[in-house]
Every structure is written in C-alpha cells, then in structure tokens.
C-alpha cells in the first residue's frame, strides 16, 4: 500500500541545508591543504610564445607555480560522445594549455599557495607573451570562406556534420504542400549559473599510491573513469571520487574539467592536499555554456492545418574546444525530437557542429530538447498564423493520438526508438480549460480596442528522458562512448535499518527523499529507517550519474528492482521461519505471513536480523539482505504536457509582463508532488529567463561581455509570476513504476510558450518573430520596424 509515494513528503535532506550544516565542496577543509588559482587566457585566440613564472614563484606564501609543460605527460581531456564525424577532429582542452588557446578563460598556469589570497595575488606576476590571432565567435560565420581557422584538423571550423530523417522524402513533401513557411530562429547562448561555483580538492596517499578527489560533480563515477583511464593513464581503482553537497548544476557539472585532474596531480607533486574553487567570473568564462543554435527551417502544411513536412538546418556553436558530451546535445537529443507531439510524415534535420572562439557549449537543462521544442512549437504557431487558424486547433489536428503509441516518429528520426505513451490532447484541453482560453480571446479583442496588447502562447511539448538504453546509445549515429544504465544497492541491516546507495547523484532534486519514499513503501518500513547515500565511488556501485531527467526513470527503477529481490529473499526466509512452504507465504507491508493468516507474521526487522546472524537459514541461502541491481531500460521515457503563458506587452516601452503562467505536465505517476512541482517551477523559470532576460554575449574579439552577475540577467523574484501547476498521469510502459521524469520539463516547454505569447500579442503589428531574449529593447525595436 502506497503510504509515502504520491505524498507531499517534506524533504529529509533539508534540516542540514536550512541550518548551514550541509558540507559543500568549499566547506571541506583538509589538514595542510594548499590553495590553487588558475591563470586564464585573456585572449580568445592566441599562440602562447612564452611564460615566465619566476617572479610569481618568489612571492610570500607561494608554494609552486606550474605551466602546461609540467602536465605535458597527461592526455587532453576525452570527448566521450562523438556524434557524427567527430572522431577525427575532436579537439579538447588540456589540464593547462601549452602552445595555443581558442577561447578566453583557458588555463595557462596554476599557482599553489598557502591561502587563496596569496595564490590569486601571484597570478598578476606571471608574465605571458601571446601572439594574438584573429577570432570568430559566430557559428555560421566560422564556416564561411576566409574565417579564422581554430584547429588544423577541422577545416572551415566544422567539428561535425550529422543528419537524421529523410531528405528526399521531405523535399518532395514540401513541394507538394499547400503552404511552405520558412523562418530563421536563434536559440541564444546561455550560462547555466548554478549558485554554487565549481571546485575540486585533490589529495594523494604515497603509501597506497591512491588519489582522492572531491569535486562538484553530477557524475563522480564517470569523472573517475575519465580522469584515470583517459587523462592520467592509471587504473581507476587507484582513485576515489566524491561529490559532497552539490549546489545546483543544470548540466554544467556533468563534465570533466581541466581542474579536476589538475588538483589530483598537484597533490601528488606537492605532497599536500590542494583545493581549487572558481570565482563567478571564472564560472562564466571557463565553465560550459548552453544552447547557441542558429536554425533555418521549412515547414509544409495543407490548407486545413495538417503539417506535411519539416526540414531543419542548424548551426550549433560548440565553442573553442569540445566539452565531454558536447556533440551529443545538438544531435541525438535535438534532431531526433523535432517531430514533437505531432504526426509529421516527413522530417529531415542537418546539423553542423562548429568551433568558434567562445567558451565550450554542452548540456544545459533540457539539453537539445528545449532547442527542438522551440523549433517545432514556433513552427506550429507560424502555420496557424499563415493559414489564419487557431494555434490550439492546429495542435489538435496534428497530435499523435493515444492509440498511436508506441509511436515511432517518421523518417526513422529516433533511430529505432518509439515514444512510449501519451495523451497530448488531454493535457492541452485541461490547460485551455484552466486558463479560460475562449474567454481570454474575447478579453484580448476588447483590450486591443483600448490599445492594450495581450497575448497567449501555447507549448505542447514531448521530451526524451530517462536517457539510458545502452543498446540505443551504442548505435551508429548516436556516438556515445558509454552505456547509460544505472545502479543501486539496498542493504537491510540487522535491526531493519536500511541503507540505499545509488549511482545517481542528487544536487537539488531531493533524491534522498524520493528514493527513500519508494523504498519505504516497497519494504514497508518507516522512512526514518532509511538512509540514501550517493556520490562516493568507494561506497556506491558504479553509476552514470544524474542528468537527462534519468534519476527517477532509471536510477529509482534500479532501486525498485533491488528492493523486489530483497523482498523475495525475505519472503523465502520468512517462510522458513514460519515453517511454512514458500509458495504459501506473501510479503505485504513489511510482514511475511501465510496467505490468510496475517496475525502470524514475521516482520522485515525480524527477518533482517535472522538473515544477518544466519543461525538458521534455508539450505543454500546466503546471509544478509543485500542486493545490487543494474537497470538498463528497454527504452527512454517521453514526458509531455502543455504550458500556456499570457503576457501583456507595453508597446511604448517594449516591456513584457507575464500575467499568468500555467503548466499541465505528465511525467507518469508522481513520487512526490511537492518536489515535482518545485522541479517544474524552477524549470519554467529557466525557460522564461531564456525567453525574456538571459543572453551570454561575446564581442567580435571573443570577450564575454556578460562575465558577471551584474551583466548576465539571472531573473529575480520580482521578475517572475506566480505559477499554476497541475498534472495529468499517463504511466510509461517502459518501467514497472510507470515513471517518466520531471527535471527538465519546465525548461523544455516554457521558452516557446512565452515567445508565442509575445508574438501573439504583437500580431496586429504584423510581427511574426522576435529573437530571444525578448528584452524591452528587442520588442520595442520590432514594433518600430513593423510600423515602418
């Protein structure tokens, strides 16, 4: 009986967080610990001619200064996800660059000192001679003739080309359409901006030759593998990686960064632990960015609004070098999802991944799917506009219907996978009803007569989550360098107190609570008796970590499967203790009893004790209730929903005010509505931020103009509306709990909802598109230009 699952259970991790007792990386102090500061290139494209560290080395408090030559025996960082033709022209950062930089912020030298103030002081005393080279920051311009070339092995700065779908069929279908609409969309560059900056601490034990690295990571097991096997060339068994409390990540802490192996090697070289933590400015120039697509699309339709074909060409800016999984984001997680919630018979997507003199671009919340959703949800609105149809009607007409599932998008867009389940129209209708769609259209008409511009925007999204099936990620064209199953261990101790370890990694999602809820219900024990532990390679089974909304739909299912096996063993032992035959006993709510005789029960606590002391076990049974599961799902999951935004645009100032924001999300059964709604609200906020506020701007020389929180517009409380959140529940057939995942839904859905609303508000001006972010200046300018 579900007691915890589905309940608004308060989070078990919160007491330490609200009292200042949580230990984040910056809070970890080791005896004798030194502090490192990294000298970063002020130029976006330059040769390093010479570095003189002698003056810096002599400063008080400085222990040592190192340059790239000191790490020359280490390999460059690996790129683990080589979609398209990346294999031969991958260029990745080194721990410190030796002869060349391709974006500002690349590490050139490192100072290690007794404290951070001394280390930072010394940076100014390192003399570097650069030969500055010409720069290019725009992905499309970088591919044009005469553009500065960043890497010898990547002609025209093209890192990769990738395509999916059916080009000829799509061209023919476009030719046979009643209307074809062409549009150019920009999906601007964003900075993830977790509130906790990144950091790492290395220590080394010369006795055992073992490294320990603490880091701000979403995937400590993967970091260990990449650092040891790929960068340092040592056995992974010689390193332990830990993520302490992690203060938000949004994708930016999935990746291997140069500083992680750096602190490990520094600790070994110097015989003392070494800590490095980044400043916010370093976070903005040297940690990964997200999105940065330029897209041209053509969408074909019949007069009645039936969409016939979608053809997309995207230039994806990957930055000056490749981050860990950069090529996978604008490919597998983008092109594959361009059919959205619609039955589009012909699709084709061509992607160019391009090097430019900018920070590395990799996964940022939603990772590819917000970009895909933006294209298709803008395209559907443009079809409606062109044909003078209601955007809700065009969505209804083209939706994949419940009986179509499992639905394989046309043109083999998803490389053999199929959407699992969905009731797209139900979510849309509920959202329209809640918002009062018809009444709003009336109100909009009346407002326009008074010179007020209200607009409504819809976004009916589907995402690909629970990203895992190893047989899919290993297919040609996908290019992942790993499997993506997940692990869990469940151990019921002698007193019945239970420890769960997981390969997932919680950095704000509340996994310690939701996972405990599942175990408590399944085992039938109080939630207080469960500890969920994660993020330490020494004490948890290998796991791929937390991203891609996979810790409910993959990580938690591993846990669920493990508990089922624990229960089965407990049932057998219980039967033995009751002197009953195994087939006659059942496990229910923490008790094992003969069917029909619940009064004669053995509790899970009694059984755990019997299993642990092992005085009297059935023949062949091993002691202890302990099970490890590795779960590799047969498919991804496909959460969906509809978001609606209502805005009012002040046409004198260009200011956009969000009057209402409403979401109907379907992530299957909800483990904890409190946490799920929190995820949705935070996600929506990041999408609204993209639509209205945030933009990582570079000048032509590759200088980041938004390199601090003074210039990069993170929304504040006053910039955001109250959110109206609700759910429909369509279980996924992929896993036994029916769970789909919720971490990214808000971000995936929200940007097009806001932009569609603003464009709808300004339709009387003939405006059909404005590039994000829709700042007052951008909106005002669009109105002025439309008026001409």
């Amino acid at each position: 009986m579900a007691k915890y699952v589905g309940a608004r259970q308060k989070r078990v991790e919160d007491p330490r967080l609200i009292t200042g007792n949580a230990r984040y990386l910056e809070d970890v102090q080791l005896p004798g610990m030194l502090h490192a500061a990294v000298l970063r290139s002020p130029y976006a494209h330059a040769r390093i001619d010479s570095i003189d560290t002698s003056a810096a080395s002599r400063l008080p408090g400085v222990v040592a200064v190192f340059t790239g030559q000191d790490f020359a025996d280490l390999n460059p960082l690996p790129c683990a996800w080589q979609a398209g033709g990346v294999t031969n022209n991958a260029n990745t950062p080194r721990v410190l660059e030796i002869d060349k930089v391709t974006h500002t912020g690349m590490g050139i030298a490192v100072v290690v000192a007794e404290d951070r103030y001394a280390a930072e002081d010394a940076l100014a005393h390192i003399e570097v001679a650069y030969s500055v080279l010409p720069t290019v920051v725009d992905a499309k311009k970088a591919t044009e003739a005469g553009a500065p070339q960043l890497h010898e092995n990547a002609p025209d700065n093209i890192c990769m080309t990738w395509e999916c779908g059916d080009q000829d069929g799509t061209d023919r279908a476009l030719g046979a359409s009643d209307v074809v609409i062409r549009e150019h969309l920009t999906n601007q560059r964003l900075i993830p901006t977790a509130m906790e900056p990144r950091g790492a601490i290395g220590s080394y034990d010369p006795g055992t030759e073992e490294y320990t690295v603490w880091m701000t990571s979403q995937a400590p097991h993967v970091m260990r593998l990449l650092m040891t096997a790929f960068v340092m060339g040592i056995p992974e068994t010689k390193m332990r990686c830990l993520s302490p409390q992690v203060g938000g990540a949004f994708g930016s802490k999935i990746f291997l960064y140069p500083e992680y192996p750096m602190v490990a090697v520094l600790a070994q070289k110097l015989g003392r632990p070494v800590k490095w933590t980044e400043s916010r400015q370093e976070n903005y120039i040297a940690t990964t960015h997200g999105r940065d697509h330029q897209t041209d699309f053509e969408v074909g339709a019949l007069r009645d609004g039936t969409i016939t074909a979608l053809k997309v060409t995207t230039y994806a800016n990957l930055g000056g070098t490749l981050s860990t999984i950069a090529p996978g984001i604008p490919t597998s997680l983008y092109g594959s999802m361009l059919s959205g919630t619609y039955k589009i018979p012909h699709l084709h997507c061509q992607v160019y991944g391009v090097y430019t003199n900018t920070a590395m671009v990799d996964a940022y919340r939603g990772a590819g799917r917000p970009e895909a959703t933006f294209v298709i949800e803008r395209a559907v609105d443009l079809v409606a506009r062109e044909l003078n149809l209601d955007p809700a009607e065009v969505r209804r007409k083209n939706f994949i219907q419940p009986e179509d599932f499992p639905y394989e998008p046309a043109s083999n867009l998803l490389n053999g996978l199929a959407y699992d389940s969905g009731e797209y129209e139900k979510a849309l209708e509920r959202a329209l009803e809640q918002v009062g769609y018809r009444e709003f259209r009336q109100e909009q008409q009346e407002a326009r007569q008074q010179g007020r511009y209200l607009g409504i925007g819809l976004s009916s999204y589907v995402e690909i989550c629970g990203v895992a099936p190893s047989k899919w990620v290993g297919l040609p064209g996908e290019g992942w360098g790993a499997g993506l199953w997940e692990s869990a261990n469940v151990r019921v101790h002698l007193t019945g107190k239970t420890v769960v370890t997981t390969g997932s990694q919680s950095h704000g999602q509340g996994l310690e609570t939701t996972m405990a809820q599942v175990v408590a219900d399944e085992l039938g024990i109080p939630i207080e008796d469960i500890e969920v532990k994660h993020s330490d390679t020494m004490s948890t089974p290998f796991g791929y970590g937390t991203y891609g909304s996979r810790s409910a739909a993959v990580g938690t299912i591993a846990l669920y499967n493990s508990v089922q096996r624990i229960k089965e063993k407990a049932r057998k032992l219980g039967a033995h203790m009751l002197e009953a035959s195994e087939e006659d006993v059942v496990y229910q709510d923490g008790n094992v009893f003969v069917k029909g005789s619940p009064e004669q029960a053995k509790t899970i606590q009694e059984i755990a004790g019997a299993a642990a002391v092992a005085y009297d076990l059935p023949a062949g049974m091993e002691p202890f209730l302990d099970d490890t599961a590795y779960y590799d799902p047969p498919n991804c999951t496909y959460p969906f929903g509809t978001h609606i935004c209502i805005v009012e645009v002040d046409t004198d100032t260009g200011r956009v005010e969000i009057k209402r924001y409403l979401s109907v999300d379907d992530c299957g059964p909800v483990i904890n509505p409190l946490i799920a709604d929190g995820q949705v609200q935070g996600g929506i906020t990041q999408g609204i931020a993209q639509a209205l506020y945030e933009f990582a701007a570079y000048d032509d020389s590759g200088q980041l103009l938004t390199a601090s929180m003074m210039d990069y517009a993170i929304p504040k409380a006053e910039h955001l509306p109250h959110f109206e959140n609700s759910h429909t529940v369509t279980p996924s057939p992929v896993n036994p709990m029916g769970i789909k995942g919720i971490g990214e839904a808000g971000t995936i859905a929200s940007a097009p909802a806001v932009v569609n609303a603003v464009v709808d508000a300004l339709s009387p001006f003939g405006i059909r598109d404005i590039n994000m972010p829709l700042t007052p200046q951008a909106v005002w300018r669009a109105i002025q230009e439309a008026g001409r």
Partner: protein, 158 residues
C-alpha cells in the same frame, strides 16, 4: 601584510583575531571561525548567498571588510535558531522553499529581516524584498510561500 586585531561578537560569542585589512567578512566567518554555513556565490555582490546580520541589519558579508565589523555583533545562519529551528527555517522546510540549498542561508537571513521590517507583507512586497538574493532552482514560488507562511505563523503566535 600588516595585520589588525579585531573582536567581533558572532552568534553571541566574542571572537578575537588578527586579520589582513583586506580580509572580507565572509572569509573571516568561513575560514577564521569555521562558520561555513554562509556561502559565496558571486564576486560582485549580486547573489546574496553571503547575507548575514550585522548589528541588526541584513548585509552581504562579501561586501564588508572584517575590520569594519570590529566591535560589532554578527548573526549567521548557524546562530539564527539558538539550537532550534527558527520559524523562518521551519517555513522554508515546510514549504519546499529550497532545492540545492546553496542560496538558502542567505535567503533565510534576508527573509527574517524582511519580516522584522514588514510583518505583514504582500507577495509583491516579499518579491521586492528579495531583490538582493538570487535563487537558480526554485523560481522563487515556494520561497515567497515560505516567507508568507512564516509571517502568518508570527502573527498567529503574537
């Protein structure tokens, strides 16, 4: 560098140290006193993660020098509840007003002062009052809710 002796009363306890004149209060609290509950999230006094109470005012401790706090009283997140949960901490917990928790100490320190100055704020006044504190996880919905709940608790209890 020349060091200056200072004495600061932190969470009711007097602490005397010799510090560099340039030492920031947040580093004094975190490194000299080991009170790591106060967080650092930016270089430019935008994020508010480092908010503490200095002589009864909510200040960003990254923008105060430790020597400026000489002779002052400072309260950090560790000292807010006197060993129990402060009603604002309880309200953040009850209302899921935090996710990753990194902005939370600063957010709670700001929120308690906000209610001292305006015990019955509207949602709009709460949002305006959080102008100096950034959260990247929650979208502020539940932070506003938590502060409203704490205000209601305070009014009900008085």
């Amino acid at each position: 560098m020349q060091k200056i002796p200072i004495t600061v009363e932190v969470n009711g306890r007097k602490a005397s140290r010799e510090v560099e004149p340039r030492l920031l209060l947040v580093h004094f609290l975190r490194e000299a006193l080991g009170l790591t509950g106060t967080k650092i999230g930016c270089d430019t006094s935008q994020c508010g993660s480092c908010t503490v109470h200095l002589d009864g005012m909510a200040v960003k401790s990254c923008t105060v020098l430790a020597v400026q706090a000489n002779g002052s009283q400072v309260t950090t997140i560790e000292g807010l509840g006197n060993g129990e949960l402060h009603p604002m901490q309880q309200a953040f917990w009850d209302n899921h007003g935090l996710q990753c928790g990194y902005c939370t100490p600063g957010m709670i320190m700001t929120a308690t002062k906000l209610l001292e100055e305006n015990p019955n704020p509207s949602d709009e006044e709460i949002r305006d009052g959080l102008e100096g504190n950034l959260c990247r996880c929650t979208g502020y919905e539940n932070i506003v809710k938590a502060i409203r709940a704490a205000a209601e608790t305070a009014r009900g209890g008085s």
